[in-house]
């Protein structure tokens, strides 16, 4: 009987687990790492980006995004949408072509690969004969023209990829008709460019590398005209009226050629080296677009004087008298122009530039050509991300204030709506407002709207103003000087150079109810900030805290403290610092927490921890945790791990540099790349091989960094006796030690003048000495204590203070529950001893059932060093589920992981991209969107124009006919509502 019953319970629990937990990687936020190709479909209004790792990403209106991955691990070199269709073709580095389509499925579109093709030449031909260098998707939508390295043009019928051999344009056919006086006739080289005549789809221009261009009639299968350019060809553009061809060349020149029936006119009409006199770099792409009235727009990339500005990444825009060289901070991959009008043939409205580290869109219809803020693809890594912090369910008040502060910072952006508007976002409105805060190396904190699919920048806080830095004030002055030639204008926000690495933000804690924020950095600085809607000029007083507490014999070998500005500083509206603590020694802050109700901030470094009263602006407690024999802790931030990371970064940079210098379409391209890859692999292998053996030794109190404070926690609980609860501070160290302090707070009316005191109450030394990574106090019902002010704002049930509280200590190796106030071990869950993985990240999350609305339970979400995510039940610390999430070699990905309060998480998959995942069945933020095939050219492809403001990124357009979608939306909305009841709802079963 008993056995049956237990079995029944187990299966019941299993069913419940299925209702509560489910693992999904939902969406990638940020900017794709190493983009390598750009495509755009004017009819679909979709943008496509291909990457070096073989990913293809499509973006339309905010929230509309698709992602596909080629099976081949090869870089995408070209992306072409088939005109007026939902298909697109990609060309990879391995010379394979792939056909993708957006297929409707259950009312949503999904990106699918529907075909692949590799050109096969005649038997025995060298591979260069079929190596594709240029692709033209013909407007008929049925043909692909493929120019190759061997100089041939192959014609392929799509979507079936059927070679039309009889229509191929071989090099011999062309060479035979080349005028005898043409210098380069012996070797025309590869096909560099293929362009279709905008007014006659039967005519294409074939541009050969050597410079010759041939206008070919596809119907008659013969050359109509030869354009004998003699400079190495870079790109070709056929003007819209079909009467001119523009060619750009490797010497920084461009030429305009008249297209006419008679050979007499084939003299070059106009030739120019725009930044001439001295040798210039190549103009890699040139575009000319007409305007309704007035002269056309001319846009080209490159062409800078080699010696003086050869390292600039520029796109030049010339219109009327305006001539601007847009100066980007990273290499230009490609660009295109969006045009007005229903058929996208009107005036140019926006220039879209894909550079290696960001996407920049420039409004060409507003004076001064301002930048339009991108609602997606925002470079997270404008300065390197050093930490992140997620806050769920932001109160509307704070949300609006943050947005208002952010809008004041964005006045230089164009007011125009986002011009890429393809597809419909069918995702339901996010159930709550979530903030993701990222700390950066340059001392800034970026606030992102993480509620939905688009990670949208809201506000940026800079802490550098509090300190004197080495920044050169002339840095920003030397641009835009009058009369400078070329007329540079800096655009883009990617700026990887930090003025002072000590400014780097390491820890962030925001109280969403009070608007108090604390951030801590690399040089032991802790700032407390308050949200202020007005600009204010104030002095920030620094309080230096000696964490060594008179321990003798230590000398700090790391960096010095930051130099604080003594004079008042003007802070713009937003978060303004009002208190500053500087740790001595100025080691990186390793733990930070804020209690806005008690107005206390606790911070820790590798030397100890402190408690700071930010109302009275004095320190309440300083505790040195440094082991007297630990000299390593005085070495500064150059720990071994860091240096490995650094050397990795350097080798990546080296490779990137060598890749950047590779010219496109050159034979040794792949060889060089492979060489670079091999070098990287060798370096990696060497790094891994160096410590071939591992020492097996029990941890000892003498190990280095045992005193490093890993976690700090405030709790109102029973520390000394079971009848009186008191405020308390808990600290956990790397050496497996937990310190508990009883705090005495003066009554509210005397809070400003009576001192806050802290008394040591308990000290727990874990026998296994593993680093303590988390401390949680569970109330009488076994639920985690609510956040400060949560109860006061009626957003959480007050904790149960009747039953006895429990202390949960999470070390890297195990989860252990102790009773309170008398600390005795109650139960535990071993992790490392059983499977060899260690806890890297841990958070408390609330999971609600997908089936039963009113059921939910809290659990611990855990990420291990093996990259697995686990859910551990509370308060019984039983393993619930386990999913592989991150590759275990991806150390920085694992280190960057941050959990939300509702079972979602973010981690960096590259320096510029967050992957979002969800462990919850109810909380899923993923793109749900529909792209419809455009009605054929001539009619409107867009049903409505979208007044798409920056602030209204989340829009739900529900297709009322699609009951299924509606139902799903309904379901997730309901699920979300229950979750609003929040963390501390005690369930009978738990």
């Amino acid at each position: 009987m008993k056995r049956f019953r237990r079995h029944g319970q187990e299966s019941q629990r299993d069913r419940l687990k299925q209702e509560l937990f489910q693992f999904n990687k939902t969406v990638e936020h940020g900017f794709p790492h190493q983009p390598s190709a750009l495509g755009y479909s004017p009819s679909l209004q979709l943008l496509a980006i291909g990457t070096r790792s073989g990913a293809i990403k499509l973006y339309g209106a905010p929230g509309v995004e698709f992602m596909g991955l080629h099976d081949e691990n090869a870089a995408v070199t070209q992306v072409h949408f088939m005109p007026h269709q939902v298909e697109l073709v990609t060309l990879l580095d391995d010379n394979s072509l792939h056909m993708w389509t957006l297929r409707g499925h259950k009312g949503l579109s999904e990106l699918l690969e529907i075909g692949r093709f590799t050109l096969t030449g005649p038997p025995g031909a060298p591979p260069s004969v079929t190596r594709v260098t240029a692709v033209l998707a013909h407007t008929s939508g049925e043909l692909l023209l493929l120019g190759t390295e061997g100089g041939h043009v192959f014609i392929v019928e799509v979507p079936g990829f059927r070679e039309l051999e009889e229509r191929n344009i071989s090099l011999d056919q062309v060479a035979a008709s080349v005028p005898d006086d043409y210098i380069g006739r012996r070797n025309l080289e590869h096909v560099e460019a293929l362009q279709e005549n905008p007014i006659n789809p039967n005519q294409v221009v074939i541009g050969y590398g050597r410079g010759l261009m041939v206008i070919w009639d596809l119907e008659k299968r013969c050359a109509i005209q030869h354009i004998p350019a003699t400079q190495q060809l870079e790109s070709v553009w056929w003007t819209e009226d079909g009467s001119y061809i523009l060619s750009s060349h490797s010497d920084g020149s461009y030429c305009r050629w008249m297209v006419g029936g008679e050979d007499v006119n084939d003299e070059e009409e106009k030739s120019d080296i725009p930044y001439g006199h001295f040798p210039c770099k190549a103009i890699s792409k040139i575009i000319q677009l007409p305007t309704e009235e007035g002269p056309p727009f001319l846009l080209f990339s490159g062409g800078m004087p080699r010696a003086s500005y050869g390292d600039r990444h520029c796109i030049t825009v010339i219109h009327c008298k305006t001539h601007v060289a847009l100066d980007f901070t990273s290499r230009i991959i490609d660009f295109f122009v969006i045009r007005d009008g229903l058929q996208h043939t009107g005036d140019p409205s926006a220039l879209v530039v894909l550079v290696e580290e960001e996407l920049v869109v420039i409004d060409l219809q507003t004076d001064c050509w301002p930048v339009i803020q991108t609602p997606y693809l925002v470079p997270l890594h404008s300065s390197a991300i050093t930490c992140s912090h997620h806050v769920s369910a932001i109160p509307l008040k704070l949300w609006e204030r943050v947005i208002a502060a952010g809008e004041l910072q964005n006045t230089h952006y164009s007011k125009k709506p986002w011009p890429i508007t393809g597809g419909q976002n069918l995702a339901p409105d996010p159930p709550q407002r979530d903030l993701l805060l990222t700390g950066h190396e340059d001392g800034t904190v970026h606030f992102w709207d993480a509620s939905g699919v688009c990670l949208y920048p809201l506000y940026k806080l800079s802490t550098a103003g509090v300190f004197h830095t080495d920044a050169d004030p002339n840095d920003n002055m030397n641009q835009g000087a009058e009369g400078e030639w070329p007329p540079f204008r800096k655009v883009g926000c990617f700026d990887p150079y930090s003025d002072d690495p000590r400014l780097g933000i390491q820890k962030i804690h925001l109280c969403k109810y009070s608007g108090y924020l604390t951030v801590a950095g690399t040089a032991g600085q802790i700032l407390v900030l308050e949200l202020n809607d007005e600009a204010a000029e104030q002095t920030v007083e620094a309080k230096v805290v000696d964490l060594l507490q008179g321990q003798e014999g230590f000398r700090w070998k790391g960096h010095t403290r930051l130099d604080v500005r003594e004079e008042p500083v003007l802070f713009p509206p937003g978060f303004q610092p009002f208190a500053l603590v500087q740790c001595q020694p100025p080691a990186v802050v390793t733990a930070l927490t804020l209690h806005s109700e008690w107005k206390l901030v606790a911070f820790g470094t590798s030397h100890g921890f402190g408690l700071y009263d930010y109302q009275q602006k004095n320190t309440v407690l300083i505790k040195c945790t440094l082991n007297p024999s630990d000299q390593l802790a005085m070495e500064g931030p150059l720990s071994r791990v860091k240096s490995i990371k650094k050397s990795l970064r350097q080798s990546f940079r080296r490779i990137r540099r060598s890749r950047v210098s590779l010219r496109k379409h050159h034979v040794n391209n792949t060889a060089k790349l492979q060489e670079a890859n091999a070098r990287l692999e060798a370096e990696l292998a060497e790094m891994e091989l160096a410590p071939v053996q591992r020492k097996i030794e029990a941890r000892s109190s003498d190990d280095s960094f045992t005193g490093l404070v890993r976690t700090l926690y405030f709790a109102d609980t029973f520390l000394s006796d079971s009848s009186h609860n008191t405020p308390s501070l808990w600290a956990g160290t790397n050496g497996g030690c937990v310190f508990a302090y009883m705090l005495r707070l003066p009554p509210v009316e005397h809070r400003a003048d009576e001192p806050v005191t802290a008394q040591p109450a308990k000290e727990i030394q874990l026998m296994h000495r593993a680093p303590v990574v988390g401390i949680v106090v569970l109330d009488g019902h076994g639920a985690p204590l609510p956040e400060p002010l949560e109860v006061a704002h009626d957003l959480a049930r007050s904790p149960d203070m009747q039953g006895s509280h429990q202390l949960l200590v999470i070390s890297e190796e195990q989860f252990k529950v102790f009773t309170l106030p008398k600390v005795s071990a109650k139960m535990k869950l071993k992790l490392t001893a059983v499977d060899g993985s260690r806890v890297r990240r841990v958070g408390v999350a609330w999971f609600c059932s997908s089936r039963t609305e009113d059921y939910g339970e809290s659990g611990l979400v855990v990420l291990t060093n093996q990259g697995d995510v686990h859910v551990v039940s509370l308060p019984h610390v039983k393993m619930q589920v386990q999913y592989p999430c991150i590759r275990r070699e991806d150390v920085s990905g694992i280190a960057s992981c941050v959990f939300t309060k509702h079972g979602q998480g973010f981690y960096l998959i590259s320096p510029s991209e967050f992957e979002r995942f969800s462990l919850s069945t109810c909380y899923l933020v993923e793109p749900r969107c529909l792209v419809e095939a455009p009605l054929h050219s001539g009619s409107s492809s867009q049903r409505r124009s979208q007044p798409d403001g920056a602030s209204s990124t989340h829009r739900t357009r529900q297709d009322s006919e699609d009951a299924e979608v509606l139902q799903e939306i309904q379901k997730s909305l309901e699920g979300d509502q229950t979750s609003f009841l929040e963390n501390n709802v005690k369930s009978a079963v738990a």
């Binding site: 591992r694 727990i764 030394q765 600390v823 071990a825 001893a833 060899g836």
Partner: protein, 402 residues
């Protein structure tokens, strides 16, 4: 000295003449050979006759060969009585001043005089170097043991290392490697974890149970197959207070040969570890068939709660080890495999010492192992209760570092 007592009296058959020396004083009395009583009674008697009721004593006697041997439990007491011929000569020492080196066992190579002269507190200044100090059997405690011999394949060895919070490091390194296995698909090269280095003077080395190139198969009952070197490292460190590793020794010569096994051929094939993994195939058919494909543990992992003694310090109070909350669990029971500590008759036939002794210092790896096992055999088998009692005390001991 001896010749004085050569006279055999008529009483000698039933009574044992005892001459007990403490310091400079002698006491003489007799005991009934047939009813010697228990050791503690005898111990009380000695304190009584010497009128030193509160002095902790070390009791030694000269055996027939003239060796000085200890009397500290019922067994060796009875042995002493039964072999006394007829005089039993006792030498008492204060425990705190006891000269352990005097307890010689290697009588054949030494002159009786030197042994006894040492006992008679005549320090021999000519001694070149202090010999290895070995504590008395009752102070012995296990630092390592071979366990589960009965259920493991002969080619495997399960070793338990007791850290006990002592200062001595575990002292070994592990590395990645590959081993060749015989599988259904033929020979297969599989990644494995191997011991790569021993720290001189470390626990691992001093036990002699682990060696370089031994393949690690399990850590505390969990197979390491499929785990990375770092994972196995972390598992070992997490279990470092009571580490049980199952290895396939590189040197298979010293394997335990079970009498019933029928695999006489196995074990005698010394091969290098990396290539020598084909032992499954090497042993006889019967043995191979009976061998379980995965290794059974006969100890439940969760009984190993030796790391459960976290230390808590209340404000202003004394440090105390944390006890389990009584509501949930009972006190940790002694591990079930305790009996394995004792030498089994089956295992004594092999030269590998199945139990090595904490040497309180450096124990030369070669040397007196043969005679050591002799002593151990008597002492450990005779006083299992005390040894267990002792260990349970030790497991509660916590290193306090504040």
């Amino acid at each position: 000295m001896n010749k004085n007592h050569r006279v055999q009296s008529s009483r000698s058959l039933s009574a044992v003449e005892v001459k007990s020396k403490f310091g400079a004083e002698f006491r003489r009395f007799s005991l009934d050979r047939s009813k010697p009583g228990r050791f503690d009674e005898f111990y009380g008697l000695l304190q009584h006759v010497h009128r030193i009721p509160n002095v902790e004593l070390l009791v030694g006697y000269a055996d027939v060969h003239g060796d000085l041997l200890p009397i500290n439990n019922d067994d060796n007491y009875h042995k002493a009585i039964s072999t006394a011929s007829p005089l039993l000569r006792l030498f008492l020492q204060r425990k705190e001043e006891a000269d352990y080196t005097a307890f010689g066992t290697d009588s054949l190579t030494r002159k009786k005089n030197t042994v006894l002269s040492a006992v008679l507190l005549r320090p021999d200044t000519n001694r070149k170097k202090p010999p290895v100090i070995i504590s008395l059997p009752r102070d012995f405690r296990p630092v390592s043991s071979i366990i589960d011999v009965d259920i493991l394949p002969e080619t495997h060895r399960r070793v338990r290392l007791y850290k006990h919070g002592q200062e001595k490091p575990l002292g070994f390194y592990i590395r990645d490697g590959s081993s060749v296995r015989v599988t259904a698909q033929g020979l297969e090269k599989l990644p494995g974890i191997f011991i790569s280095r021993m720290v001189p003077g470390g626990l691992a080395e001093s036990t002699g149970l682990l060696a370089v190139n031994d393949e690690v198969l399990e850590v505390n009952g969990i197979e390491v197959a499929g785990k990375s070197l770092d994972q196995v490292t972390d598992m070992m460190i997490a279990n470092s207070h009571n580490l049980i590793i199952t290895v396939k020794p590189a040197n298979q010569r010293n394997n335990v040969v079970r009498s019933g096994g029928g695999g006489a051929a196995s074990g005698s094939s010394g091969r290098s570890s990396d290539s020598g993994a084909s032992y499954y195939g090497y042993s006889s058919q019967a043995a191979a068939a009976s061998m379980p494909t995965h290794i059974i543990q006969n100890f439940p992992v969760d009984e190993l709660e030796s790391d459960d003694e976290d230390l808590v310090i209340e404000a202003g109070g004394e440090a105390e080890p944390i006890r389990r909350a009584p509501s949930n669990y009972s006190m940790p029971s002694l591990p079930r495999y305790e009996p394995h500590l004792n030498l089994r008759t089956a295992t004594t036939s092999v030269s590998a010492s199945a139990l090595s002794i904490n040497a309180n210092g450096t124990l030369p790896a070669s040397g007196s192992s043969g005679s050591l096992s002799n002593t151990n055999a008597t002492s450990t088998t005779s006083s299992p209760d005390r040894a267990m009692e002792r260990r349970s005390l030790e497991e509660d001991g916590t290193v306090i570092t504040l």
